[in-house]
């Protein structure tokens, strides 16, 4: 069989998928771009062409800059914490001990639960009147009085980050655990014989095996964290005083609550662009780490 026939056949086999992709991703994207240059309302008027008005208004509004900062903080801290906790959990679960299988199963639970369930659960934990966190901290004498964790701008974002970490570190742990099991035993044994300490064993023997898969986890989690909506919506709806409002919530309010489809579309595209830039940068990094690992 000739190479060109193979290529043609490959394309033919992919054709149905391509058609579906164009229909469900391509067309809405094109339509969103069109909308973003109009003053269309969600229901009712189709809208007139307004050029870059929506973009300039959005990019110069204090709402946007403030929300971008909030979202960035949320994404950077929660993803960093998830990576560290996830790897530590994976290292722990890679040890031989009794009950390991049960623990592995349990660990995945927060990730497997729907986000709304997680968020509701954490709202109860943070409840300022009857919450478990307040009860625990006051009984341990770490806190004099119950606090309103989600009601203070100073703690609300941190409280959300903790909830998000709890939900998402299992994914990182799972990916890391799979990678750890690929580390040949004789190499770690040899490092031990050569007198490498735990840190050096991790840094020079184990980490190279982990780097590739961890980059994948990092890319996935960063993109998701930048798009965060549900956990915040359920727990604070962006409050108090908009201190936890994420970019996705801003898009949602603009497009659906205020029904300004045009400017909502422009904002959605700005967010898409940001996430794409991040993804491309990461992809380049992945290629580099993957290259250096082999």
């Amino acid at each position: 069989m000739s190479g060109t026939w193979m290529t043609t056949r490959a394309w033919l086999l992919m054709l149905p998928l391509l058609v579906i992709m164009v229909a469900v991703i391509g067309w809405p994207l094109v339509d969103t771009v069109r909308l973003s240059f109009t003053d269309a309302q969600l229901v009712g008027t189709a809208g007139n062409y307004v050029g870059f008005d929506n973009y300039t208004k959005m990019l110069t509004s204090s709402n946007f800059s403030r929300t971008l900062v909030t979202t960035t903080w949320f994404a950077v801290i929660s993803v960093a914490a998830e990576m560290v906790i996830g790897v530590l959990a994976a290292l722990l679960l890679n040890q031989e001990f009794r009950g390991r299988a049960v623990l592995r199963g349990l660990m995945i639970l927060p990730w497997a639960l729907p986000t709304v369930v997680n968020a509701t659960l954490w709202r109860l934990i943070y409840n300022p009147e009857y919450g478990a966190l307040n009860a625990a901290l006051t009984q341990l004498h770490l806190l004099d009085d119950y606090r309103s964790w989600l009601g203070e701008p100073g703690t609300a974002l941190a409280a959300l980050i903790v909830a998000d970490c709890w939900k998402n570190f299992p994914l990182v742990a799972l990916i890391a655990l799979a990678a750890l099991q690929a580390v040949p035993r004789d190499i770690t044994a040899a490092a031990l014989v050569d007198g490498a300490g735990p840190f050096n064993r991790f840094r020079f023997v184990i980490l190279p095996y982990l780097a590739g898969p961890l980059m994948v986890a990092l890319v996935l989690r960063t993109i998701e964290a930048f798009k965060v909506f549900d956990i915040i919506w359920v727990m604070t709806r962006g409050g108090p005083a908009n201190s936890t409002r994420s970019l996705s919530i801003l898009v949602y309010q603009e497009a659906f609550s205020f029904q300004r489809a045009g400017s909502g579309a422009s904002l959605a595209l700005i967010v898409t662009l940001l996430v794409t830039v991040l993804a491309v940068a990461y992809a380049a990094l992945v290629r580099k780490t993957a290259g250096s690992a082999t």
């Binding site: 009712g44 108090p240 005083a241």
Partner: protein
């Protein structure tokens, strides 16, 4: 499943016999309700069951979402072209829904008996620009609930008649060490906070809009927010109020952790139910207070209506369903969590029995209901106000500046 197969077979028999060819042409209505407060989900289900029993050719699919999702879900379903035949809507949405053609004008369907029988204040829930966009269904306002036992222990003879007096009584309770923070409100960044604010705006005689332009940053509107901030800063108000929704307020009150709480009708019978509530039998209710020299009582119009969406293909059946749900008989039967829209119901012992105190408060409160502004841009205005309220409570911005910014961001 079996039942529907049975029905189909039965239908086939009729059609075959050319008896009543349309009798079993089933229509399915999709209806959107909310999953909290006022009528409970179980109430709505059993009302609907009674309706379908009486109208076997109509099936009703019920969907429940939290209040916070009701508006957006309705609009999104409309935008995507599919969706609901009957929707529950809040008093603040008819302007927007009418402008954007989400609901159909049902003015011609409202009978004279309805016009005469329903409380005049209830109609404002479904009207915009002189037209009717549905039937009022949940007639509601915020009342001041109080814990009789705590007031008694504090030596307070009667619940407060003015907001100033509310503060004084709360101070007595606090000073006597009966409660650390006697007042609970729902001031979370949500519509709930705007409802509490509106109650105070009505007490202080303020206006939301004047000639279509924001006017809440002056006069009564400003005094209302200042009252909230003072009450919060003085420590008489539970500081957690700024993350409370109505249900949080109810739990705090039912646990005996609040002497005063502002909430909707539904709390009265729930807080008096010994199954969940520690304060059953001690629940007092009066209209929200007034301001000396300005108002006797205050109240926000928190009513909701049932309407037919413009995309519905079964508007006649939908109206039949709405008529049933809002009928006096149905409403009287379920008057425990939501009071009827029908004037004569308030003299019916079947409705008033066991909740005489609530009915007495309702007669004053419902008559004083103050509307939130009817503008197609309501959501934006409300979002701006929520931010102003929260920033002021947190001490980030002075009430004057916060409301000025809200006026600028209201889109009006």
């Amino acid at each position: 499943m079996l039942k529907s197969i049975g029905k189909t077979l039965l239908g086939a028999v009729f059609v075959g016999g050319l008896l009543v060819p349309h009798a079993f042409a089933e229509t399915t209505l999709n209806a959107l309700f909310m999953a909290q407060a006022a009528y409970s989900e179980a109430d709505v289900r059993s009302m609907t069951e009674a309706f379908t029993k009486a109208n076997p050719d109509i099936k009703v699919n019920l969907e429940f979402v939290p209040y916070e999702g009701l508006h957006d879900k309705t609009v999104l379903a409309q935008g995507s072209g599919g969706g609901y035949d009957v929707v529950l809507f809040d008093v603040i949405w008819p302007a927007e829904y009418a402008t954007n053609k989400v609901l159909v004008d049902v003015s011609s369907k409202i009978t004279d008996d309805m016009k005469k029988g329903v409380l005049p204040g209830a109609w404002t829930t479904v009207q915009y620009d002189g037209k009717y966009y549905g039937m009022p269904w949940i007639l509601d306002t915020k009342y001041l609930f109080y814990n009789k036992e705590i007031l008694e222990k504090a030596g307070i003879k009667a619940p407060p008649k003015t907001w100033e007096e509310l503060g004084q009584q709360a101070k007595i309770i606090q000073d006597k060490g009966l409660l650390k923070t006697p007042i609970a409100w729902s001031w979370s960044q949500a519509e709930a906070a705007v409802c509490d604010y509106t109650t105070l705006v009505s007490a202080y005689g303020g206006d939301f809009l004047k000639d279509g332009k924001p006017d809440f940053q002056n006069g009564g509107g400003l005094s209302a927010l200042k009252y909230m901030v003072d009450s919060y800063k003085s420590g008489l108000t539970n500081p957690n109020s700024k993350e409370f929704l109505e249900e949080d307020v109810r739990k705090v009150f039912e646990n005996g952790d609040a002497a005063f709480a502002l909430n909707w009708t539904y709390m009265y019978n729930m807080a008096n139910d010994p199954k969940d509530s520690k304060v059953a039998g001690k629940v007092g209710v009066v209209p929200a207070p007034g301001v000396a020299g300005t108002s006797e009582v205050s109240a926000v119009n928190g009513s909701m209506g049932l309407g037919i969406t413009a995309v519905s293909k079964h508007q006649d059946e939908a109206w039949k369903y709405i008529e049933f749900m809002t009928s006096q008989a149905t409403q009287n039967q379920y008057a425990k969590l939501s009071l009827p829209i029908w004037a004569s119901s308030y003299d019916d012992p079947a409705v008033t029995k066991g909740q005489e105190e609530l009915i007495a408060a309702a007669k004053l409160g419902l008559a004083a209901m103050y509307p939130r502004p009817t503008t197609p841009k309501y959501q934006q205005l409300s979002t701006a106000l929520q931010q102003a309220i929260q920033e002021s409570l947190l001490g980030q911005t002075a009430p004057e500046d916060a409301l000025k910014t809200a006026a600028e961001n209201s889109g009006l």
